[in-house]
């Protein structure tokens, strides 16, 4: 295992950034976000970023093509897929697991080439958690926050950073940083994870009963009654993956881009005949059943939530996947 003195973390960032573009979680106007490292940029002290690490593979807005219209001819220039190698440092175990969920959607044939290129060019360095928030429930989804995965796993303990390569890509990056020392990571005390209030959530029941039982639950009415239909829960969620394709028109040029969409929005999957989710109840149900039932049903039981707790922290009315899952479970017995 490699090690580095934490008091010189900046030097390590500089060494990585000398080879590839580096993103670290840093505070931008008081809000932690993955930010391109430049000399002087400090890592945030917050546990996790407001928006998740998925931004770096699936950005909120991404150009797909540009059209130039002159007379009767239209010339099309497709957007270039990203070709630059880059490193993401400080990804938590929950966000790292979210990449598996996103992969199962975006890399399934036909693969999403933009996402695929970004994934292929990235080296993910994860960071083990020692101080979870009360809203964290990764452990109840089988994620070990102290063995976070990715191309390289990192631990911070006793003033040092410990780095362990998990993949050839991770090994190559570590090998390119010759000043790293050798060392063994000291044992950390994980007892705080046993105290997490949501550690015993069990989502298995959602695969045990037929889909329609959940779909037709009478509880959706009351669960969704105060939902504002905003997109906060969707846009902070590391596993939400829906997007819309839009045209930005400016005279003779049209820029076609995709942008995140939310099933909580009234025009989500709008069709010529109108929408098939006419009220907030149906939209709300879509978001939660997608994560708890539809995604696992289609992907060998993989639940579409990684327990990062962002939706628990950010929903304006404090309605979230934990409350929904608990209520549905109680209501079904």
């Amino acid at each position: 295992m490699k090690t580095w003195n934490l008091s010189q973390l900046d030097d390590l960032f500089a060494a990585i950034a000398g080879r590839q573009t580096l993103y670290i979680p840093a505070d931008a106007a008081g809000q932690p976000a993955f930010t391109r490292w430049e000399p002087g940029l400090a890592m945030t002290r917050a546990l996790n970023t407001g928006r998740s690490a998925k931004d770096l593979f699936f950005p909120q807005v991404e150009n797909l093509a540009a059209f130039q219209i002159s007379g009767k001819t239209i010339s099309v220039s497709p957007a270039q897929s990203p070709e630059e190698d880059y490193v993401i440092f400080g990804v938590r175990a929950c966000d790292c697991r979210s990449f598996d969920i996103l992969d199962s959607v975006f890399l399934a044939e036909p693969a999403d080439t933009f996402y695929q290129a970004r994934r292929a060019h990235a080296t993910v360095i994860t960071l083990a958690c020692t101080e979870p928030e009360e809203t964290c429930f990764c452990t109840s989804l089988g994620i070990d926050p102290q063995a976070p995965g990715g191309d390289i796993s990192c631990w911070m303990a006793e003033g040092r950073l410990y780095l362990q390569a998990n993949t050839p890509k991770g090994e190559a990056l570590l090998a390119s940083l010759p000043d790293l020392g050798e060392g063994e990571k000291p044992e950390t005390n994980p007892s705080v994870f046993d105290k997490l209030p949501l550690k015993d959530l069990d989502f298995s029941v959602f695969q045990e009963k037929p889909l329609l039982d959940w779909f037709n639950s009478p509880l959706w009415e009351s669960l969704s009654q105060s939902c504002l239909g905003c997109g906060s829960c969707t846009f902070v969620c590391p596993t939400c993956q829906c997007y819309d394709v839009r045209d930005f028109e400016g005279g003779g040029t049209v820029r076609r881009f995709r942008c995140w969409d939310s099933c909580m929005y009234s025009d989500f999957t709008m069709m010529a005949h109108g929408t098939n989710r006419p009220t907030q109840k149906e939209r709300f149900r879509q978001r939660f059943l997608h994560k708890l039932v539809y995604h696992p049903n289609n992907h060998q039981g993989q639940i579409g939530c990684v327990g990062c707790g962002r939706c628990l922290q950010k929903c304006p009315i404090s309605m979230n996947i934990v409350k929904v899952a608990k209520a549905l479970k109680e209501g079904s017995v």
Partner: protein
Amino acid sequence: MQRSVIETAASLLETGVCTRVLGWKTGEFFYDVTPAVFTSAEEVRKDMVFTPFCGANLSKYLIAESRKEGKIAVFLKPCDTFSFVQLQKEHRICRENVYAVGVQCPGMSDPDALKALGLKGLTGCVQEGDTLRVDTLYGEKAVPLADALSLRCRGCKSKRLHDCDAIIGTQGKDLQTSRFAQVEALEAMTAEERFAFWRKELSKCIRCNACRNVCPACSCETCVFDNPDSGVQNKAAASSFEENLFHIIRAFHVAGRCTDCGECTRVCPQHIPLHLLNRKLIKDMNTLYGVYQAGADFETKPPMLAFTLEDPEASIITQGRNGQ
């Protein structure tokens, strides 16, 4: 206070004054209450709460709820009653279907305020006089109540409860707080500094629309930004210009109707100080057209709907009526 709110709600249902109660429902933690409609006294006694974490303003829900069959009782804090009156002024609420209970407010606390103090892993909280004893995963911490106050309560404009059928606690008064101090600080900046401040803040926006959807002044059936025929519909900003425009247009659309209830800033997941935009417009309108508070009464004409020949032309002059 908690007990009288619950008992009032339960007895309103038991005595048939109303068939539904709009209040706050307990959650997983001490702070994550959800607005909810209760239909029986049992439900109320089981799940309804009134704690220092009931920040959510319930008045906007009355747009839909007051149109339903039967009477609904609603619990409103002083700032919420301004929205309640303003919504009635805009003919958005059927008043005859509402029984409004005003609850005097000690100031609402906010989990974000606790986290800003460096507290992590919040698991429990009890109030003892002016102190909150907060249990965390990392031990117990005592926090002065004043330090846990939410941003908007620090600039509370009034403790007066407007247009209520009943009041719990005592009627309050308008307050003099320095709620425009930060606006003045922004005005004192150079244009470049101010632009940089807003670019930095607004570039955090993820266009989740929570600010708009929670706002009692944003009650259009279809927002211009959701209307595919408007030409300005944007689900995500295609450029930083559009991103800024959303906020500035929204601030102008609610000008003279925004009661400064503070919900937009409370709900923003990216902690953008949206209230500063609204307060700037409130401050300017006060200067140009005389002091006006949206939602304070039913009679006063809002400055954007009233016209007198003496009105200054804000677009071509920089001085207001009183020369300021």
